[in-house]
């Protein structure tokens, strides 16, 4: 591994920030934010952070829908953007996502196609869940990415659950990354709760894509600590589908404390640092929230300008 200590610590701070953001955003949602169902992705923070650490401002990145708020960690974005309504910005490589799962993967593949046609060295990383991986449109996107050797890295984020359905109950696989062979592209599985290991694999695949050697599939194994979604403010979903004790077991593998231990062992982090970072991040989020929410939002008049003909 060659990652600078500074970068190692930045990733830690970003993971902590991502975790805390979930609470802040849930707060806002409970106070009547207007964002449909609220979803969180606690326990999966290592993956988006490891990905962002390998991307340039002009690269494209689609986090899984639970990790959209992690975009602040991508070069070009800042915390305040998360609270500002719309993150959409092709210049900074975020093309939105599809609430109808899977339909956005082909869109990001199109970004990679544009990069190839224009002969830039931009790369695209596109994440989706193991449940969404079953959608047909993703198959088509991977077929065309492989056929044209597009600069895109697909990251299948296996958090073991699709809604209330446990992955292992539905599929029996030795190695999900074998799916890559069906497209004639390289595949690799990695412990998605190990931010350093994930960072290294993402770097390898992103570098290959940037060199023009085509797409790849990374399967990042993790666990969804958050519920499927918050049905409505306050009322948490009853999660009778998780086996006794499974959640507790999984918490022991929470990527944040785990990474904290690693950094402490490496002598890069003291208990004081940990406390300080918590406090600083709280302040940053508070500031970002007030900044971001002050930015002008799209109002009715602007919104209806999107109509292509008579309203």
């Amino acid at each position: 591994m060659n990652i600078s200590n500074e970068k190692l610590l930045r990733m830690y701070r970003q993971m902590v920030t991502t975790r805390k953001l979930y609470d802040t955003l849930y707060e806002l949602y409970s106070r009547g934010s207007s964002m449909g169902n609220f979803v969180a992705g606690e326990g999966e923070e290592a993956i988006p952070v490891a990905i962002c650490a390998n991307l340039r401002r002009d690269d494209a990145y689609k986090p899984n829908f639970r990790q959209t708020s992690c975009l602040f960690a991508k070069e070009g974005y800042e915390l305040a953007d998360i609270f500002s309504g719309s993150l959409f910005d092709a210049e900074r490589g975020y093309l939105g996502f599809s609430l109808a799962l899977g339909e956005d993967v082909g869109v990001y593949t199109g970004f990679a196609l544009a990069a190839q046609m224009r002969r830039t060295d931009q790369v695209c990383v596109c994440t989706f869940g193991e449940g969404t991986a079953s959608k047909g449109s993703i198959h088509e996107a991977m077929v065309i990415a492989a056929a044209w050797k597009l600069p895109i890295v697909f990251v299948l984020q296996n958090n073991q659950y699709c809604g209330g359905t446990r992955f292992s109950k539905v599929y029996d696989f030795e190695d999900l990354s074998d799916r890559a062979r069906g497209y004639g592209i390289p595949g690799r599985s990695v412990d998605g709760n190990d931010v350093i290991a994930t960072h290294e694999v993402v770097r390898e695949f992103v570098d290959r894509a940037r060199r023009g050697d085509g797409p790849g599939l990374i399967v990042a194994e993790t666990y969804r600590l958050s519920p499927y979604f918050e049905r409505s403010p306050g009322e948490r979903v009853i999660e009778q589908y998780r086996p006794e004790g499974e959640l507790e077991e999984a918490r022991k593998n929470d990527p944040i404390p785990r990474y904290r231990r690693t950094l402490t062992e490496m002598g890069l982090l003291t208990d004081e640092d940990v406390e300080r970072i918590e406090e600083e991040v709280d302040k940053e989020i508070a500031r970002a929230m007030s900044d971001g929410r002050q930015r002008p939002r799209v109002d009715y008049e602007q919104y209806v300008q999107y109509a292509v003909a008579e309203l």
Partner: protein
Amino acid sequence: MAEKVEAQVTMLDCGAAINAAFREEMRRDERVVMWGEDVITMESPTAGADLCTRGLFEEFGGDRIRDTPVVEAAIIETAIGAGLAGLRPIAHVMSGGFQMGCFDPIFARLGTAYQEWKHPGTLPVVVMASVLGGAAKGADHALSPESLFMHSPGLKVVMPSTAYDTKGLLKTAIRDDFPVMFYTHREVMIREEKEPIPDDEYLIPFGQADVKRTGADATIVTYSGMVLRALAAAEELAEDGIGAEVVDLRTLVPMDVDTIVESARKTGRLLIVHEAMKRAGAAGEIAMRVTEAAPDVVMALKTPIRRLAAANVALPTSLRIERRLVPQVADIVAATRDMVEGSNTGNG
């Protein structure tokens, strides 16, 4: 007497009514089977969906009710194959918006191909989904897709507005030998007040609209969640002495044109209301059917047929904006009043 009635009905909400319909039909006919995402684990975001399927797995077991992966196209296509093979599948797709992702299977396979194949037998498939409007869930969740599937030759389209109608129509759908699109609506599913549902079995035939409220001055034709808003509007209008008759179509295919015509003949005014986007929405079809069935009535209307529907722009994830794009009670009141008193420009 009151006692007697009590003995014959049970107060149920829509989810419980659906659950009862499923249970009765699955007991009655072992060929009735169902699958979809999380129909067993009941984590579906479809409003109230957990109530709909609760306890069915325990009673009927894993051969007849199954959870699927996120494969909407396969959910529909396997239902077609199983239906052709002699089962009577109920295929669950969480929301009307997600049906865009399995459109060919629904529109072109289920609704078209078996006619083209000159398939001699039956194709008893019910596709169930919820329209999740009114909560700024965005187009993918909140789309009301009825006009799209009305355009498929082989699909019946059912969109009830009460727990009572839902149960009676769902049982009819499950017994139908050909494809039925069945839509519940979030605002119907989450209603607080329960309805008296007869304990004895009842079925409601397709193609029979229901006059949910009578009135002399204007006819409001609508269906699904918008019936609730139309009734609230009629309530308000009544205070101003305007009598609005609310016709709940209940099924769009087949469509009960006669009931609309009779009402329009009486009131002389026809307002068509739906939640879906106006352009190429169902209102145009309803208006043409009335015109074709009773040109004399249409020519004699006091004011031209008018429609009220969502603006021609994507459903937003902002409640503030959604409320201005999709017809609200106040909009229905204003449009009706305008037709009765107003300029009669007919611009809906």
